[in-house]
């Protein structure tokens, strides 16, 4: 054994077993399979589901009681039958203004997706730039902080006079909605690169491209996905309002039209559909976030 200075001893005694011959990594086997005591995993999921159902039941009961107090407010039963009607007729295509609700949902989703992808294409590189350059950060951050609290809907008229087209203006509203969370989260990730990895890049003269590819991207992946998830959530909320304004075919426009036609059960049924779609979108991004954090845990 070596003689060591006192403050080095605890460092040096850290056991770090090298497993050349076996070829199996030492870290892998260390996680034992967790067996919860007393209750199986099945019982746990049953409990989670049970409480969720109980909560929903209380909510529906309150809704049922409350609906009686307000004129024209559909009850849960009204809504349910309206929802079934809308879904059985979901893919009807009788031309513009006469489409099934699922087709409308699809138009809205496509519009959101288009603006969202545009925002990702613009926002991720911009975020990386301002995250890795303090000067760019200082130049852009105040502007973003000023623009961020502005409701994206306020841009609609401005975009309309630029593009002279309601559809393109709507897509750009979604793009602006999604842009800020993506830029800010990407920048946060890109600015948190460990000094050691920056130093590796400096010592080995990593090219800009290699640096972005092998250092910046792996480190900011988790934050990027978080930004994408946040902006998708907001974009899905905003699309409903945009479509109410633009009057283009979509679920938001449908809600407004049915309100004007006095068909409140359809309005509330649409809310259920919008919520479900938003939930599914979020689950997709949650899954992506999990994958990204697994990647990061390995770094």
């Amino acid at each position: 054994m070596s003689l060591m200075l006192p403050d080095a001893i605890d460092q040096a005694t850290t056991a770090d077993i090298d497993v050349d011959s076996a070829g199996e990594p030492a870290h892998r086997a260390s996680a034992p399979i967790a067996i919860p005591r007393g209750r199986s995993r099945l019982a746990q999921s049953a409990s989670t589901l049970g409480w969720a159902v109980a909560g929903a039941a209380v909510f529906v009961a309150l809704w049922h009681l409350g609906a009686r107090q307000v004129a024209n407010m559909p009850t849960p039963v009204d809504t349910w039958s309206s929802l079934r009607e809308l879904l059985t007729d979901g893919f009807r295509n009788g031309g513009p203004g006469d489409q099934g609700v699922l087709l409308l949902l699809k138009s809205s989703l496509l519009r959101v997706l288009k603006g969202f992808v545009m925002a990702a294409i613009l926002g991720i590189p911009l975020g990386m730039l301002i995250g890795s350059s303090p000067r760019a950060w200082k130049a852009v951050n105040p502007l973003i902080q000023f623009l961020r609290p502005v409701s994206p809907l306020a841009w609609y008229p401005v975009l309309l006079i630029i593009f002279l087209d309601a559809d393109r203006a709507s897509t750009w509203v979604i793009c602006l909605t999604s842009l800020w969370p993506i830029v800010l989260n990407t920048a946060a990730g890109a600015s948190s690169i460990p000094t050691d990895h920056r130093n590796v890049a400096r010592v080995f003269h990593l090219t800009r491209r290699a640096y972005v590819r092998h250092v910046v991207v792996p480190h900011s992946l988790g934050s990027i996905v978080t930004g994408l998830r946040l902006s998708m959530g907001t974009a899905w909320m905003v699309i409903v309002a945009v479509e109410m304004m633009s009057g283009r075919d979509g679920i938001g426009n449908f809600v407004w039209n049915e309100y004007n036609a006095g068909a409140m059960p359809k309005v509330v049924a649409s809310i259920v559909l919008i919520g479900t779609t938003g939930l599914l979108l979020d689950l997709v991004f949650l899954k992506l976030a999990k994958l990204a954090s697994q990647q990061e845990a390995h770094s």
């Binding site: 054994m1 070596s2 003689l3 060591m4 200075l5 006192p6 403050d7 080095a8 460092q11 040096a12 005694t13 850290t14 056991a15 770090d16 077993i17 090298d18 497993v19 050349d20 070829g23 990594p25 030492a26 870290h27 892998r28 460990p194 050691d196 990895h197 130093n199 590796v200 400096r202 010592v203 080995f204 003269h205 990593l206 090219t207 290699a210 092998h214 250092v215 792996p218 990647q295 845990a297 390995h298 770094s299």
Partner: protein
């Protein structure tokens, strides 16, 4: 090739107090020399290494390679960092290859492959080349970091406590591989190593620079280790010169420790 450090000063301002970490360091390292920097935490040994590596700018003084001042960081002074710092998404082979491709763009693809093979093989990792850092132990990661540093054919190799976090057996093996690569495989002439280990410093070095905290001078002693190579880690302990140096270092460092405490 000679490495000269001339009148190097560096202070850090921490809140309102100023820490004068490097206080006029003078050091000349001859070609083929292995020099260790030893001292307590905060004595500035890592800062000195970082200045030589071009990662920290000194307040005053200069670092010269063959009489020419060194600029910023670069592969002619490759560094092995304390906590491995391999790029996480790349395999071991890609880690070395990306470094060689970036640092030595003049090499052809086959020359690059040859370097990667030589040095990953030299640290015994060639059969693990397809693994990623998270799949292997800390010792193997550090060996890969050593291979990466040698593979860019540096003139000076800088080691920042390279064996600090390793267990005794792994440390002994990596020390052996390091000396082997330095002496026979590579063109690298000078090695500068920051260490906490007294025995490690004596076993590996030609010269040991003992550094200290204020109010003492930055460099309190330089000890030449004239024990001939190759050195055997078992029998070297019987050498009278080995014991003499060991005692001297222990005395220097413990006096310093008491005074600081």
């Amino acid at each position: 090739m000679t490495l000269e450090i001339r009148n190097l000063h560096k202070s850090f301002v921490h809140k309102s107090s100023v820490q004068h970490v490097l206080r006029g360091i003078e050091l000349t390292v001859q070609p083929g020399e292995f020099v260790s920097l030893i001292g307590h935490s905060g004595c500035g040994k890592s800062t000195l290494l970082s200045v030589v590596g071009g990662l920290t700018t000194p307040d005053r003084g200069e670092v010269l390679l063959d009489g020419a001042p060194v600029g910023g960081a670069g592969p002619d002074r490759a560094m092995v960092f304390q906590n491995y710092s391999l790029l996480p998404r790349l395999t071991l082979e890609q880690n070395v290859e990306v470094a060689v491709a970036s640092a030595r763009p003049e090499h052809s693809k086959s020359e690059r492959g040859e370097l990667v093979h030589r040095y990953l093989g030299g640290v015994g990792l060639w059969e693990h080349r397809g693994k990623r850092p998270h799949q292997i132990s800390g010792g193997m990661q550090q060996r890969c970091a050593v291979a990466r540093a040698f593979a860019v054919e540096p003139r000076v190799l800088l080691l920042d406590e390279p064996f600090g976090a390793l267990d005794a057996l792994t440390r002994a093996r990596l020390q052996g591989q390091l000396i082997e690569l330095w002496q026979s495989e590579s063109e690298t002439e000078i090695v500068l190593m920051v260490t906490h280990g007294i025995d490690e410093a004596v076993l590996l070095s030609d010269r040991i620079v003992v550094m200290s905290n204020p109010p003492q001078r930055s460099v309190v002693d330089m000890i030449t280790v004239e024990i001939p190579r190759p050195r055997d880690r078992v029998s070297i302990a019987d050498s009278p010169r080995y014991r003499e140096i060991q005692h001297r270092l222990l005395a220097l460092l413990s006096i310093d420790g008491e005074r600081v405490a």
